[in-house]
Symmetry: C3
Subunit: 217 residues, 3 copies
Amino acid sequence: MTGPQIVLALDILGTVTFALNGALTASRRVRLDIVGVVALGVITATGGGMVRDLLLGAVPPAALVEWYYLAAATVGSLAAWLVARPTRGLTRMIVLLDAVGLSVFAVAGAQKASAMGLQPAPAIILGAVTAVGGGTLRDVLIGEVPSVLTNDLYAIPALVGAAVTVLAGRYDLLPFPAAILGAVLCFAIRMVGVRYGLNAPSRRVLRRARGARSDDA
Amino acid sequence: MTGPQIVLALDILGTVTFALNGALTASRRVRLDIVGVVALGVITATGGGMVRDLLLGAVPPAALVEWYYLAAATVGSLAAWLVARPTRGLTRMIVLLDAVGLSVFAVAGAQKASAMGLQPAPAIILGAVTAVGGGTLRDVLIGEVPSVLTNDLYAIPALVGAAVTVLAGRYDLLPFPAAILGAVLCFAIRMVGVRYGLNAPSRRVLRRARGARSDDA
Amino acid sequence: MTGPQIVLALDILGTVTFALNGALTASRRVRLDIVGVVALGVITATGGGMVRDLLLGAVPPAALVEWYYLAAATVGSLAAWLVARPTRGLTRMIVLLDAVGLSVFAVAGAQKASAMGLQPAPAIILGAVTAVGGGTLRDVLIGEVPSVLTNDLYAIPALVGAAVTVLAGRYDLLPFPAAILGAVLCFAIRMVGVRYGLNAPSRRVLRRARGARSDDA
């Protein structure tokens, strides 16, 4: 496989996993019909890139132009519909592949924003938006506070990966290896967070927040 | 009336009804001031088309360029403010006209997306987004899980209508009659769903979901 | 200071205050990590202008092109993280500066929409969207019904300020003094509302709405 082929393969893998994970997460929270499951899976997988493309003026967004994004997202969502209750082993694999998707999306999103002329700070932000935007939209649609806002180690690895990529590209410091380094760093930080429970479960955070709310109500 | 005049009349009728229905739905859920009622009515009526236009890069969106969209949506919203508690007869008429709006929006949205060069699958999706996007935005704004995600027979007729329209246009199979067929099919499926209660009330779904949530909390 | 410098200074002041106020409001409702606080502060401060720019097709939005928007919004958000519980005096100053931001954003947003060719009604709406859109996005993200929808005297001053600006510009009635008049009117109406409690606290409205909901459930 050539470099671009590997990137494309990872991008599709990330899209399938994001859709699978997104659809499973949504189904656990709200009783959805099949349209709802597929819609939320597709939105989780493609929403971040769509927001990025809207903000860059790159319309129609890649997710509506390149057929494989919608195809991959639909496959992942339908898999979620079929699986419904993943085994522990499958859950572990999803967490792993989700971290791969996070890394690929953050780096690729930051590169696209940078290539379209954005300054480093907004390009880094759009990289992170590519990675976490879809899950944010899903959480808003199912009435949850987006877990990315209450959970340190999901946005931060995306920001780190995007920053390494953008800054190296900006100062011409071996941009291609730097992008790989950015993705690897993002993946590593995310997995360390998962391993050591640095990402406090969002349910608990939410419950506490709700407790606090009823107190001051 | 000529063909385009009929389409325009149906489009305006759909806009008024979506605004009326959207504003009534929102007012039942949250105590709103008049700005809130009009804002939510206008968003219900024009939001789906705006999202479609943003994704197509057709900006400013038609709803901000053609004066009659905002006018029709404002009229519908103010009617909701005046009516507040519709009679049973009015409710029935709103359900009927809402299905007309759903059909016109799905078909017109899909046609616009197709005409702007999108492939069939994304064009069909954008047709459905045109039809259901405004109600989705409204539900998110009033803190509800969008009923379209938990209710089979609102998105599906829109997708069917959009699909018939797009595919016929794509393969040059009498596009104009096909668009009418698409709209009629969408309307018929929706009304069959309403008649036989195939659309389970979203409140019940939500309550069940909330019950499930407190169990696993 | 020249006129444009004053406008720029007010714009930056408004951005800092919106971010500070937005991040404080969000932190009171949901337990957020630092990424969440900064993200919600930045979204509150820049979200309205971003939505306006997306709808106008002015992309990438000013908030991603002019460095001082992100910088000002980050400063305001970090200040909120440091302050956490503002004193009564600081709260008063925030309310005052927030009204300044509301006025500047409404007038500047309406002017931009008008300059890009929108008719008066949509230009006035986009002025108000510039002013209240960021807070709306924040409320949706933290799972609250946007207070602007339940609270008369936040959107109305923005609409009045935008209307005076747009209509005077449209009919060439001393556009520059009219814009100042619009901003002053917006500020005055807002502060009168604050002073006389014309803006009912949204929490109370929400609680009542929730009570009503459980009744009819």
